[in-house]
Point group: C2
Chain length 229, copies 2
């Protein structure tokens, strides 16, 4: 196995695309893993495909996973509306209805399965501090616990090489992430972050993800090249 | 949420069926979760359905999950043959080719997603000491690490009720498991354990799972009611 080769959770959003260019700048070979999990908007998957092709990932897997059948999230359950036009303060308070139960645990578990199948030991994902305030599976404690699990659950527990989970954005603000990606030449027009059903690939501009993203671009004095309605 | 309600990983095999009758005898209400994950033989899923109906589970979900696309296991990869006619000693030595990378991590992660979606906090699975010698994700350390992850990754980390993972067979031999199930009236003819493609629902009698199962029935002086070729 290569020492600098791993699996990247690639949503097609701003964060995972930034992790992609950061890791490639450090010489990592990446296998992308995306999920068609029943999210209401799947335009992000088209962007994941384009990113994977543009950045010549070693492989790209789109995994079908019907989390929508479990319901209970505004991202997958048509009975729950995506919240709109919330203040940054409101977004930062408590777990929002867009939380998908155990989503990152499920996604990382499948990244682990793919990695172990290919004898890779590095997992990359783009969780960060802004999500921290709301989503429990975006905290440093989650990364630590998952790393311990990976090393107890696989051939690593039998003397194999240990797993590492790389979450290089975890302590960064969205503005810092955007600065980092722009410095590495990332065209954020190739990414989409919107939670809602969007027309012709346009983002709504009003869901939490759009509000956080637009605020980050405004903070660093740049214009978000993604199209909005 | 009910205090005695949880999600059971139900494969249709001997172990999970035994956990089912043990938990029901203790008054638990169970939601079954089975996986159509690309296993070569899927007759076990038919048995999972029958068990769920016979024991009147509160719900039963069969989740599609194409782990076969990752390959590298004799259970899912047609290029790898299921090992046959191995001695009990050989079966107990090292990780066999039937190991599916990170399978129990993925299965438990989805059980966690289902549980959190329904506000349940108890997960049941039938891993046991005989698998311990071979599969890393059947060890007590795995259960401990997954429990810690569950409580770091979900609303439990935000002050919600904590998760418990119940693996009541973990320190039992197959013979002890069979004795327990028979004492609770379980008809093991309703279960299948075979790893291989079987004809008309018959088990091969020669793969590791069949050998361990037949040895257990022999040890307790009973006849396995499941059909063999």
């Amino acid at each position: 196995m290569s020492t600098k080769e791993g699996v990247l959770l690639l949503s097609g959003g701003l964060d995972s695309a930034t992790v992609l260019v950061m890791a490639q700048a450090e010489g990592w070979t990446l296998h992308g893993l995306s999920f068609d999990y029943g999210q209401k908007q799947s335009v992000e998957l088209q962007h994941a495909k384009r990113l994977a092709a543009h950045y010549k990932l070693a492989s790209h897997t789109i995994f079908n996973l019907d989390l929508a059948q479990f319901g209970s999230s505004a991202l997958t359950d048509t009975a729950i509306e995506v919240p709109k036009n919330r203040s940054l303060q409101a977004i930062g308070a408590g777990i929002p209805s867009t939380y998908v139960p155990a989503r990152n645990t499920v996604f990382l578990s499948l990244a682990l399965a793919l990695a172990e199948s290919r004898d890779l030991r590095h997992l990359f994902l783009g969780i960060n501090v802004l999500d921290y305030s709301g989503y429990p599976d975006c905290r440093p404690e989650f990364v630590t616990a998952f790393t311990a699990l990976a090393n107890a659950a696989t051939r690593a527990a039998d003397g194999g090489a240990a797993y590492q989970v790389h979450a290089p954005l975890i302590d960064k603000t969205k503005a810092q992430i955007v600065v980092q990606g722009l410095a590495l030449g990332l065209d954020y027009g190739m990414t989409r972050s919107c939670y809602d059903v969007v027309e012709e690939g346009r983002s709504c501009g009003a869901c939490d993800a759009c509000i956080l993203r637009l605020a980050a671009f405004a903070e660093v004095g740049e214009v978000d090249p993604a199209p909005y309605v």
